[in-house]
Subunit: 324 residues, 2 copies
């Protein structure tokens, strides 16, 4: 393609195919049928097909000095897979578009290993991809999956309990430490570098009747606002209940993003049974952090639709009863 810079031209005819072959060898039977213009999907015989796209850009979503190339791959895959978990879905198919500067070429197989490990663990297959030269490294991942029961952000109802999986605050603490020129604790670092997507938890929450669900990527407080806005309700979180990681304040745990834990609203009547069987579902804890309330009387005009601009919901979100 004569449009592209010389370096990339060389890559398309020779090195690009070498790179693709190296990736395919690395992924083995995890990657199927790459080599056509598009991939064929098996018919969905049950459940609902869901799809999501997520980008991971160097110096925006991570810094190279912080984590290994393999961890870059794990994070990129988990960030994408987590969006499906938050819908109550499991991933089946993954498509990956790499933009690769010269300096990244040699690390690509490690990135591929990290992505491959996360995708394999999710039980999905890589069915398509794209490789492009470019000045800034990025990975854009599309995940296609299936949900026995889809849970949107918009279904939270007054009276529901607000629950969250796992312990929060790790990624935020890790970034804070790195930004200050220090080193994060092992736990915080691990939570940033190799998060685990919560698909088993997401599916269990969906099947338990969760009315709304979201993954904690903007921080618990921020994502609670998204659910409140989409559902046309208030989410009252109690800061004292927030499950913070070791050495992390409740305030920091509320703010920390890129968690890939799940925030869900669960009908109060269903919660007890879910809590009783939770230990069989997950190794991480499930914590009640608040309740869903009707929107204030003065917000009656607010749309109950998911299409309501999120900004409207922010005004009606109350963070903890004590702060009212």
């Amino acid at each position: 393609m004569s449009l592209e810079p010389r370096a990339h031209q060389a890559m398309r005819e020779g090195a690009e195919f070498d790179t693709i072959r190296a990736l395919m060898a690395r992924w083995g039977d995890l990657a199927v049928d790459i080599g056509d213009d598009a991939a064929v999907l098996a018919p969905a015989t049950h459940g609902t097909r869901v799809v999501s796209i997520d980008a991971c850009v160097e110096d925006v979503h991570f810094r190279r000095a912080w984590i290994t190339a393999r961890e870059v791959g794990v994070r990129a895959a988990v960030a994408a897979l987590s969006d499906l978990a938050a819908m109550g879905a499991r991933a089946e198919y993954v498509l990956i578009a790499f933009v690769i500067p010269e300096g990244w070429r040699e690390q690509l197989s490690e990135v591929a290993d990290g992505m491959g490990a996360a995708i394999r663990e999710a039980g999905a297959r890589i069915v398509g991809g794209n490789l492009s030269h470019g000045a800034v490294f990025s990975i854009t991942t599309t995940v296609i999956g299936r949900a026995p029961r889809v849970v949107p952000r918009s279904g939270a109802r007054a009276g529901d309990l607000v629950v969250v999986t796992g312990l929060l605050g790790g990624p935020g603490a890790a970034i804070e430490a790195w930004d200050a020129g220090g080193s994060p604790t092992g736990w915080s670092r691990e939570r940033f570098a190799a998060p685990a997507p919560r698909w088993a938890e997401g599916e269990a929450l969906a099947l338990a009747g969760a009315t709304a669900m979201i993954d904690v990527s903007d921080g618990l407080a921020g994502d609670a606002r998204h659910v409140a806005a989409a559902s046309g309700v208030r989410l009252e979180l109690d800061a004292a209940l927030v499950p913070a990681g070791p050495g992390i304040s409740a305030e920091a745990a509320l703010r920390s993003g890129e968690e890939y834990e799940l925030l869900a609203c669960v009908p109060a009547a269903e919660y007890e049974a879910l809590a009783a069987r939770w230990a069989a579902i997950s190794v991480v804890r499930l914590t009640v952090v608040g309740v869903v309330r009707d929107a204030d009387a003065d917000s009656d005009s607010q749309s109950n639709s998911a299409k309501a601009p999120p900004a409207h919901g922010f005004d009606h979100f109350l963070l903890g009863k004590s702060s009212r």
Copy 2:
């Protein structure tokens, strides 16, 4: 998300949502249900689901000085849609991940208009997206569609005719002119800036029994090599038959990439009937440019599988009988 640079932090809380809202307003009913972690797809009641991902990176796939922001959007969408056309599929769903440097923010609505126009014309809907700050502008597009009959690259058989849609050479000539500091002809510029995906043509070729198909993104000669390699055959193209655009040599037409025309292998017995009804299918011509031959006797060991490394196929590709 405290990880990100200040500029992006501001965007996530305020400007990012403003941008998303602006995009949604721009796209109107073309974009559906964005706002959840993932999008729900309707069940495929007929045909086969196919999916593809494609990236468009500034200064790799285009230069801003060459084309308008709207044309950047059209090209990005068409490049992705074309991959489905090459499988005999039409797009139903589109997901778009933008990486946006500060300088692109104000042009984004024009980019969105261009993408929207191409996606609307294809009859597809935008069901998901991702917005990220970043130093280099890029658009990564995932397209999901359906094919009544899927055509891979790997099915070409000896005796098939090799056909190509449209007139070739425009994008190559346009880039050559720009690279030389000049201006391309109107026709060449249009072919680069606003290509038309050939989904009606792709579907018709599929239904006419095409055994292999690919879109001409690496140049007719290069893409013929891909088909030859995937199918374990030789494609003999006659340079004198290649349909070149106005003022363009056969040699340049063979090399020109990013064409988004279709190269297909069609059983000879089916060709006449297809040619007879072609005028009712498409406004562009369908041209026989060569034939498919068995691989040479000394290449019997070559795999007939699409997984055969393309490099093996290159050796067995003959460009025109006269060059043998």
